[in-house]
């Protein structure tokens, strides 16, 4: 059974239909990526799954439970969270307080401290800047913080929305290494990316989103070699 199943999802902004009945699934242990051009509806899909945008039609099932109408804050408690587009770290809080916010649903104080220590070893830069105001970090560092913050809630399924956006090539590689690493430690990943080449290179399966509909899907390696995908998204 799929860990996350999206079925016939439709989302509207006012009168405009942004998502036109898409279906996809993420199985436990997979890295699945949703690729597509700017404005294809990737972020809308991600936000509607987490309850940030209301769903007009269709269902979202997580771990066998219908979460279509469950508010986002409760979804986090079920074990699914998201690193949102544009990172959206709390700029005015310290790095440490941002990590504490990530552990908002965790009650065990000792565990939280352990997790923070672990995150600060995983992301050295965060350890060094623990007491710094998060808004003063560089873009790449903020992305590390956003990922570390999401890991604090120990998600079974982690969704990442454009984690490489606006980063230097060095940080882009780093971000994908972290995702691979984190996946190995046992977390299922749903990745939305414009950097299709990178995303397909680490993913098991992929869906191509085109103006609100899924135009193609398959194993990541197949799509990586598909002529149409190559032309449209890989710049070859």
């Amino acid at each position: 059974m799929a860990l996350l199943e999206v079925k016939d999802l439709e989302v509207f902004y006012g009168m405009i239909q942004a998502i036109k009945g898409i279906s996809f699934e993420v199985n436990e242990g997979e890295i699945v990526t949703l690729i597509g051009a700017n404005g294809a509806g990737k972020t809308t899909t991600m936000q509607s799954i987490m309850g940030l945008i209301p769903i007009k039609k269709g269902t979202v099932t997580y771990d066998g439970q219908d979460i279509t109408k469950v508010p986002g804050n409760k979804i986090v408690r079920l074990g699914m969270t998201q690193v949102p587009e544009g990172r959206r770290i709390f700029q005015e809080l310290t790095v440490y307080d941002n990590l504490l916010m990530g552990a908002y649903t965790v009650k065990d104080k000792k565990k939280i401290q352990q997790d923070i220590d672990e995150i600060c070893t995983r992301f050295e830069i965060l350890g060094q800047r623990k007491n710094q105001i998060a808004g003063t970090l560089s873009g790449g560092e903020q992305q590390m913080l956003a990922m570390g913050r999401a890991m604090m809630s120990h998600p079974k399924l982690l969704m990442l929305d454009e984690p490489s956006m606006g980063l230097s090539p060095l940080f882009v590689d780093k971000v994908f290494d972290i995702i691979k690493d984190y996946h190995k430690s046992g977390t299922t990943i749903l990745l939305v990316e414009q950097n299709a080449k990178k995303a397909l290179s680490i993913a098991d399966r992929a869906y191509v989103l085109e103006t609100g509909s899924i135009s193609m899907s398959g194993s990541a390696s197949d799509l990586l070699n598909d002529e149409n995908v190559k032309k449209a998204y890989l710049g070859a």
Binding site: Q47, M50, G51, L52, P71, G72, N73, K74, V76, R77, T81, Q82, P84, G86, R88, I89, F90, Q91, E92, L93, D97, L100, M101, G102, Y104, T105, R149, A150, S153
Partner: protein, 287 residues
């Protein structure tokens, strides 16, 4: 000296009210124009409980409870259904709630001013100055409350969540924060602070009318904007500043008739020079 003390204690009252405006603005992104009327609700609560029990401490406790509950009920009934509606609709609703509260008070207590007799603590002489004990109580208790609130916001999970919601509601939701609950808590805290403000206000001016809250409410709102709306230290600074200016102006016969004009002119000047207020944060528009 006694002018400064009076100014500081009036400033503490303004600051307590301004905190309610600024916290609600920061977290719920709305101007709660009914906030001033919570002071009036608190004042009548003290009056009635004092008449019934004769015990000022019970009266204070009851007033705090009634203000907190009114804050929560108003938020639930009037503002929560408008979450996501245009700011103008929310603003008009808030003004409506303000009129409603005043009308209810008028129905129950009539429009005539009623006087209240709180215990007189007398004066203490410090050096060559005689200072009202009530002024000192206002300063000390007001200061403690504000210090406590600052600690609460900085050090507790709920306080951190309040800061998070204020900065980015969606991101806070992704952390598992129940945004509605945080907004409710904010209204509760703001209204409880207004109850204290109401008590301190009555210690200075022991008479109550249904429109009692309007003037201190608008002054405290001014204080919140001067300090930078949305900023907690800003509300404290703005409140104290405005209280001091008011008492200093009132103590100089030549300018005392212009006191209110001077206070509001200060607001205009600050808005011209620094539109975000003294300690306000630059608002980042999401692109």
């Amino acid at each position: 000296m006694s002018t400064i003390m009076d100014g500081l204690s009036l400033g503490a009252i303004y600051a307590l009210i301004a905190l309610g405006y600024t916290m609600v603005y920061g977290i719920a992104k709305m101007l709660n124009f009914a906030h001033g009327d919570i002071i009036m609700v608190g004042a009548y609560a003290i009056l009635t409980t004092l008449e019934l029990t004769g015990n000022p401490y019970i009266a204070i406790a009851v007033s705090i409870v009634i203000c907190t509950v009114s804050g929560i009920v108003i938020e639930r009934l009037a503002y929560k259904p408008l979450r996501g509606a245009s700011p103008l609709a929310v603003l008009i609703t808030a003004i409506g709630v303000s009129f409603l509260l005043q009308a209810i008070a008028q129905l129950i207590y009539g429009s005539k001013s009623q006087s209240i007799s709180l215990p007189d603590f007398g004066k203490v002489v410090i050096g060559k100055y005689a200072i009202n004990v009530s002024t000192i109580i206002t300063l000390v208790v007001g200061g403690l409350i504000m210090a406590g609130l600052t600690l609460f916001v900085k050090k507790t999970n709920t306080g951190r969540a309040m800061q998070a919601v204020s900065e980015d509601r969606g991101a806070a939701l992704l952390m598992g924060v129940n945004v509605n609950r945080i907004i409710m808590i904010t209204f509760a805290i703001g209204s409880a602070l207004a109850a204290f403000a109401s008590l301190f206000y009555l210690m200075q001016i022991p008479s109550i009318t249904p429109t009692l809250g309007s003037m201190p409410g608008i002054k405290a709102f001014t204080a919140a904007v001067i300090g930078g709306i949305g900023s907690i230290p800003g509300a404290m600074l703005g409140g104290v500043l405005l209280g001091l200016i008011e008492k200093i102006c009132l103590s100089i016969p030549a300018i005392s008739p212009y006191t209110t004009a001077i206070e509001f002119s200060l607001l205009i000047i600050i808005l011209l020079v620094k539109p975000i207020g003294l300690l306000g944060k630059q608002i980042r528009e999401k692109v």
